[in-house]
Symmetry: D4
Subunit: 247 residues, 8 copies
């Protein structure tokens, strides 16, 4: 119920067209309707200007297809994450126009082309971090950002990062995906003056503890402007970078 509808309601009350008790009843839910009707709000709710997102982990392929169908029919573009090959096949069967990004485990659909805005750079430290980086890239692109990918630029050979100083300096927001010791976030952060969204990956062994080592390193970055999302959460990193980029 928006301001306009409320005005009309109060007007009816004034004119005696509606009983006070009835109005009381109608007003009870006011604040929630002011926020918006309950929508398909599965794993993560997406607000204005952004497409709906389906988090597919733990969902049956047919359920994912059903939701994808309703989203596309409503005229929205589609982003599905954590899409395994089975679900990808089901989506493809539903519509050949749905694109499956295997490494990123994402599926996307667009009604029409959108001109990418701004500039987001997505870097990753090693080849094993690429799936997470790709999820970030696809997500940011679906949210309207122009994205440049810089992969395999880990700190073991610092020259590889330094070689891309130009691209990094042109970005509005940077995503850094890194596992193991996660040092790349600090090194990149120290070279630029835009926010760095660091996403630790679960890549590593032994005392990497499934990404905890990288997570802690990133949280403890000596460089201000480095912010962190959950381990392997490429979607969250791309989403935040796109939000920053959009302004």
């Amino acid at each position: 119920m928006d301001r306009q509808k409320l005005k009309i309601l109060l007007d009816k009350v004034r004119k005696g067209k509606i009983k006070i008790d009835k109005a009381l009843e109608m007003l009870r839910d006011l604040p929630f309707e002011d926020i918006g009707i309950a929508k398909v709000d599965h794993h993560r709710a997406l607000r204005r200007g952004f497409p709906e997102v389906i988090f597919c982990e733990g969902k049956e392929p047919k359920d994912t297809v059903a939701i994808a169908k309703s989203i596309i029919k409503a005229g929205h573009c589609l982003l599905a994450t954590r899409v395994d090959s089975k679900t990808a096949a089901a989506l493809k069967k539903f519509s050949k126009k749905i694109k499956y990004h295997r490494r990123a485990r994402c599926a996307t659909y667009r009604h029409k082309k959108v001109k990418p805005q701004g500039h987001v750079v997505v870097c990753c430290a090693g080849t094993s971090d690429i799936p997470v980086a790709e999820e970030a890239k696809i997500t940011a692109e679906m949210l309207g950002a122009k994205v440049t990918a810089l992969y395999d630029v880990g700190v073991a050979g610092i020259h590889r990062v330094l070689a891309h100083k130009k691209e990094l300096k042109e970005a509005r927001a940077i995503v850094v995906a890194a596992g193991m010791e996660g040092a790349l976030a600090s090194v990149v952060g120290g070279m630029v003056d835009v926010p760095v969204v660091a996403v630790p990956t679960s890549i590593g062994y032994g005392a990497s503890f499934g990404g905890i080592a990288a997570l802690l390193a990133m949280l403890n970055s000596c460089v201000p402007g480095v912010v962190v999302v959950n381990i392997d959460n490429g979607f969250g990193a791309g989403y935040a970078a796109a939000m920053i980029n959009r302004k």
Copy 2:
């Protein structure tokens, strides 16, 4: 060594005014000078457009004063964090124009007023979280942002957050400082479409483990667009929010 100086150097080489061996020597350090001269780069280096920052924890008051002096003399504005009362007194003694923000444990100095830009909202869940929130606020302000503070809006009484929907929706970036279960970040994140920089505080007892409970809650937020900085790192949160706000 900037582009101009390099051009001059090459010109001298061409004209034979400088020996090749000598030029070789001079070029060796080029890339580092291209980045900028080694500066007072204490706890965290601040790049272009942002003032120098002194992290005072573990520094002698007299050292802090010396650095502050050099920063102010160089025409920069000053932000010092983790300033205890002793250091505050020493700074005040050096210059009465330095302002001490007791709750935020920050000291600031500005040569001239700067018109605040954009809009950053800093919220915190409980009164105990205020020092961290204030550090974020002062930091964002020193980096040029207009800041609105919304304190004591924890989720135990959800109406307190909901009452400020308007301010939250107007922000370009939001800082949420919360200890205990850290739920405020998700609740605020779900209400807006801008990045939320969540800063867990060490407030709590028992199984809060000095802020770990809040940190984990924030990293696991079901709301995309929530990014996280280190426990009690109000400076880092304010810095990131100001970076996002600036664009």
Copy 3:
């Protein structure tokens, strides 16, 4: 051995129908028999007024059937938890009247209908939390409670919870199942004046650590009246809620 049987025994002693030594022998175990005969007391013992419960994890289907048989024959109603499809089939084969709740992984049997008492609300944050919530719901129902389920009301869209204020306020006890950041428990707890039994779920990834993030968040809830059970322990949550509801 209950009070009645003990009275008879003592009467026999008085009448000389039983030897003192023999009575001594029989009395030796008295206190334990006073509590109830040593019964099938597998995973968790259920006391007066509540049905027997079989925790099936790690049990052979045939063993579960045997125990179920003895329970039903004794005139008790049946609740079996953590029932996989194999065990479900075996139970169904034994008696078609046994009902299998697939999502809750529970099997139940009732000799006759019982009118549900009081009111327990079971909410969960996301669709992935539903199995745990359902286990709580079935358990509370088997223990005699009337249960209302409110699913998919996570805090990412706070309006979804707020919309159910009425149902929440009418409950005698509320179960909240949530993974990820577990914020729902605090938000619900802040809206009501009855105990909230919070059950963290292992839903999430990365730094959710199999439910630890939600567990810590719930333990650190800033809302008094929120109590916590083990990760994924829907049975325990439903059991406690039913106990509270029963009074």
Copy 4:
């Protein structure tokens, strides 16, 4: 703004005594006022029927006194927790009628006597757990419960618990405070058919890790009906027990 006031407002609208725009403005905050006016809602908000609670840790004595004053003047009874001796003295100076419970570190005030209802039992394992148990006891009493204390009944001598079977069986809710291995919660839980609110204490050394050992033991209790609150959170335990007791 309660239902009555809202009715009057709508009546004024109907009668033209108030402009629609003005009413719109007044209605804007409706839902929050429906919950209750934004009050002194410090650490934990207390709802209807329960007294206000001040969490004193980290508060200046004079602030505590100010809040206590406003609570008492409003006709509410007072419960202040984590009251150190300084704050206790300040409260005593403000009003001699305020009672200080040194071991429980609580201060209380009642305008008139209230007849205790139901029955809550508070047990603790060792003498060192008594402060936490006492905090639970005072809290439950302030919330209207009749409370029986059973202290020093740890499982090292199991007969001590068994000797109190009668009191335990008569309770509507039981609080168990225990540090070290926290086994008392399971032992007590196995003897009764009412909810046991287990509160781990930070008592112990070495691998007790400030109460984590007891916390984990309680969360893993093999007895259904055992629910857990945060380490040393006697207030939370007493509060939950009183809620359960009240029904």
Copy 5:
């Protein structure tokens, strides 16, 4: 109520000297009285043949003196652990015959000399581990064991342990106190064929985590026959060793 008393009771029932209802009442508490009357059961209850023990941490000196008094008057010998200098002074003031062992932080009293039995060896790795080792030694001695101390025999110089092979082989039980990497327990365990009670100490820094490193090492000992007690729990180690020695 022992067997004899029970026989008499039943006899009275048989002879009609006592009513059945009355007998029922008396039998209700039987099992608990069978275990023994509730005793001074402070921190840890000591059973037959062993002296009472007072755990002084967190106790007022005057309370400790009161308990010590009652123990000594009852004819028992005294062992008080975690005795700080204040409490030591208070005990000394009460009776000059009480002996204070400063390094072990123990106080002891014996009515008459007892001939030590068997042989317990207490070793420790470094000089910093001596307080814990001494607590074990005093405890084992008070429980009747003959004790040999081998201090400063850490594995950094393996020859120091090897030099004492003879003493080690003659023991009935061995206590090994070690901090840091706790390797001594395995080395000693591999040299003997009696149980080794390993007590990790909180000695170390950095990643020793207050004794966790040593605790884990000891739990993971590749030598069977090594059992472990809590960090810094010299009392528990000495107690267990004395129990093993006594047989």
Copy 6:
């Protein structure tokens, strides 16, 4: 080189039958040969009076058979732990006299019957803990102990433990295997005056963390005389109990 051989060597030196330099060479390795020749010393070395033990986890069936063969041929009795069904079949194929204990995952062989000595009691809390308890039982029996098993006596129904007070009091050493909250160790320890070897099991879910909850509970037992071995280490518990029993 044993004492006898050394005497002969020295005798040869005295008689000039061997050169001093040569003797020097031979004496260099003396101490190690004095301990015994390096033997099949796989997972854990067993010393005098105890049979050889093969830890089979990670060993090929054929390797296990080869070692078993050499042990049996040497006239020793055999204990193999962590024997899976494949290895069991291979051992059976080698000798039908080898006995496989499926639940305990142990294989044993004895040349002749040995009369069991002393008395060890092995209890466990739930039916799921039985495999660990059985490993302890078989181990203690192979080391010569008479063993009584008390299974399914968890604290959820405390009467079940109390009913076995007599057996517990007659033991020289007691093994307690328990998962979940591990409270059984303290309850049993409080009832007896012999050492209790507590072995936490990995049974449980959620915050049991694969046995850590039980491990911590046991390390923090308020009962002196409770010592702990590694999670699921039934072999270690049975070994230690047998060592204690043997004296």
Copy 7:
């Protein structure tokens, strides 16, 4: 771009053969080319004098073969780690001269024999640690070291280590691989005066936590000169030892 090429470039500038602007462009990347051309720098970059290394975990067999091919063609020798049987077969198919070390999961290739230098000793505690030890051995050998292996010398039988004092004393660097309590590193370290590179293995169960127990023990070694690498990182240990050995 090396020094020689730079000299030529500057010479061309001097002679006017190249425009200043063009030279500027070419110089922009100078520092990075000074470090070396961007190479196949997969998991870990290997510098001068050492062969290229392929970390195969997570790589498709055909990718590994392609990289191996390029390395061998370039005249380098080959070291591939974490090679599973599938990848081994693919490598073998590519060239029969590639040698597969099954236990070490390594594949190697040498164009010509190289005389091993210095002396590295690789010890391990148990037979289960051998794969990690072998990875260290192969790595050190490929980096030019002469390596002696001392396996199964765990501290449960300390004589086994002591027997090899001579070999240990002759080494320039020692690798110690051990799981469980990891005590071997300290024992060996205490016997020698060269660096000990300790590599914890994930061997163990229960509270070994996948190698954490050994890792912490090694980090807390009381012996100076013991340095540590990641859990199961035999490659890293062998690499570091070879670096130390080389000097």
Copy 8:
């Protein structure tokens, strides 16, 4: 007992001047004496060529002085670590020639100058890491190494490290001390071909957990040749580097 003494003993046996039984007795302890007489072996034993070291933490100043005295009198040079100001004063009082290094908390004494050998570089990331770095520096110097210190070269400004490439490349071993995210170790390691001894410092706050973040980062370094010592263990790092340097 050294080789010479043993020869004399055997000679006496040959000549019949000593009885065989007596010789047997004397030989029993041979191997241990062969290793060296039990010496002042406080915190960590130092072997041949290296000075004695006193770890002063937890030692009384007078004890430290006594040990220092004995070391100096024996003609050794002195290194004392973790020397607080009190102990420093006591040492100074004993001998003015003892030098106190305040920041490194070390005290040293040399009988005569020694020419430094090789080259060790000690770097640290921030000014707060200097005490740990200085401890490493003093230690390495006392062990004979020439040491260059590169302080405040953290990765927030990567150019600072790059500027010192020359010094780094000339070293035989490098110590890197860093707190927070510990990234410096990887960055430095990637630039050189000598071992890097990484020492995490406890510098940082929040989720640095007293150095764990840096420790994990260093253990997970993607650069081979990086080895790690305990948190804040500057002594251990300097010691290992000096060992590597010495060869």
